[in-house]
Symmetry: C2
Subunit: 322 residues, 2 copies
């Protein structure tokens, strides 16, 4: 390990926010030194509680996450927030920056917010998010809150990497609420009904309870339903308490360890997939070649299914060790 990395890791561990921020950028961009950095930081990780929060757009996730961070700050805990932002597929970057969010925590080094874009070059968002959580963990954050928009496969993958998963619902989501709940029902350790002062909160609660009676968790935990009004802070201490209770359940039942193993199983698969893509696929499939093939297929000169078979066959022959 180079001296630079050693110094960098020391700075991160000492609470230097610039060093932390620079580390996250390196990990996000998969820079040359990010691998050595992560290897070094991994040894210091494993102490933070990782909490994933997901829910449909309009559920008020950002406000709730900010309020929850505030609650933990009152308890003298340090917090890292990773906010996954939808990205413009053309401009590439996350549209909503950290700047808007940072306002409410200005001057408090105990809360560190990082926005991340949903679009990566070759997938890998959940791997990157997990690595960023590892960096925040190694930096000594007591809690890492990961917040995602939407209910796609990415979101499910991301929240599954957490120790505790919170699903946020709101009253009056309309026709699709059944389908949303179907997708995330079984990953929730805690349900939050935010905007609980709106009409229909009771109905959402009844729907959750009736779906719970049908679902089969692999453990004996019954996910509680916590009602909040994030904008006023109502219900937020109760949410923190529900998190405490689930933590205790995880600890006393040995399920915490089981869950970490299950999470690593997912995460290792994703890491391997990303690495294979990075090392093998992207090198064999240059932009120029893809452009040429795409022209041929679009004009029906070439059959894409046969083409891909040929390329994968070639890939196997081309390995450097041969």
């Amino acid at each position: 390990m180079s001296t630079d990395i050693t110094t960098w890791v020391e700075e991160i561990r000492a609470g230097n926010l610039r060093a932390l921020s620079r580390a996250i950028t390196a990990v996000e961009n998969r820079t040359a030194d990010s691998h050595a950095l992560l290897r070094s930081l991994f040894a210091h990780s494993g102490h933070a509680r990782i909490v994933g929060l997901t829910g449909s757009p309009g559920a008020g996730k950002s406000t709730l996450v900010d309020a929850l961070a505030g609650e933990y700050r009152r308890r003298q805990k340090t917090v890292g927030i990773i906010a996954i932002d939808p990205t413009s597929p053309y401009t590439g970057g996350a549209i909503l920056g950290d700047r808007i969010r940072m306002q409410s925590h200005t001057g408090d080094n105990g809360t560190f917010i990082r926005s991340m874009a949903t679009r990566g070059a070759l997938g890998g968002l959940s791997s990157t998010t997990a690595d960023v959580a590892t960096v925040m963990d190694a930096a000594g954050r007591d809690l890492v809150l990961i917040e995602t928009v939407g209910v796609g496969q990415d979101e499910v993958d991301i929240v599954r990497l957490a120790d505790i998963t919170i699903v946020i619902l709101v009253p009056g989501m309309g026709d699709d609420v059944q389908s949303i709940k179907a997708g995330i029902m079984e990953i929730a350790d805690i349900f939050v009904i935010n905007k609980a002062d709106h009409n229909g909160a009771e109905r959402v609660e009844r729907e959750i309870k009736s779906m719970q009676s049908l679902s089969q968790r692999h453990d004996s935990w019954i996910p509680p339903v916590v009602k909040t009004v994030a904008s006023t802070g109502a219900g937020v201490p109760e949410l923190a308490q529900a998190i405490d209770q689930y933590e205790e359940f995880l600890t006393t039942s040995e399920l915490g360890r089981e869950r970490r193993v299950a999470n690593w199983r997912n995460r290792l698969r994703q890491m391997l997939r990303d690495e294979v893509l990075r090392q093998i696929v992207s090198q064999a499939f240059t932009d120029e070649a893809v452009g040429r093939y795409a022209e041929q297929v679009a004009s029906h000169e070439r059959d894409p299914y046969a083409l891909i078979g040929e390329i994968v066959g070639e890939l196997a022959r081309r390995e450097p060790s041969c």
Copy 2:
């Protein structure tokens, strides 16, 4: 090509719905004969117009897609609908089946609906969706409507495989509406404000227009904003007309071809990625091995970053042709 596949393809092309349904199941499950089937069907594809529709949960997408299908049926066009359903990560299958949706089209062979689950074994949802669209296209459907929930990367990948992308918004989505629009603003060829009889429709329209003035499309098309009330059918003929106009724009400007090439570029990359994962990664990384590694990493006996490097190194040496 075997006689079985030839007969099967003939049945599909003759409008046999059972044969079509069986083909889609084969493609979804990546059965042994699905590859030959797709190769054979590809030759007959390329005539359907593929329309992708996306929007946040609660936007009334299903109702709108059904109404749009009805409009095309009145024009004597045949329609295929691919509805991407959120999936339970535990039970595996799509929770909302086709049965509920099929009701309104019962007895009309001109509309064929297929639900697909969001969770695949190793990613690949957008590849599979594109293949299913190819099957429907080869079966002679004039229009294929692909409907997705949410605004994750999967959804963006899926709708980018379409010829025409429609983004559905509704009044009163709350705080997150800005971030949703940021993510999908630039992929929309047509905007729909559904539930336009609700309060706030004008505000959504103003917001779209003001974001449009900032965005940079690579062509001269200005995405129109169509207001609908899908439950009553209001605005649906106008939506079909907007689709016609964009089709004409694509045809006269040669952009249709450019877009198909760009779509194939994305699709070939995804196909290659899926095939590499299927052939290389999943064989090298058995459930048992992953379980063992996950235990070691969870207990911090092993560093995951070094581990993955070792495995990918081994993979390269293990290629069958060596």
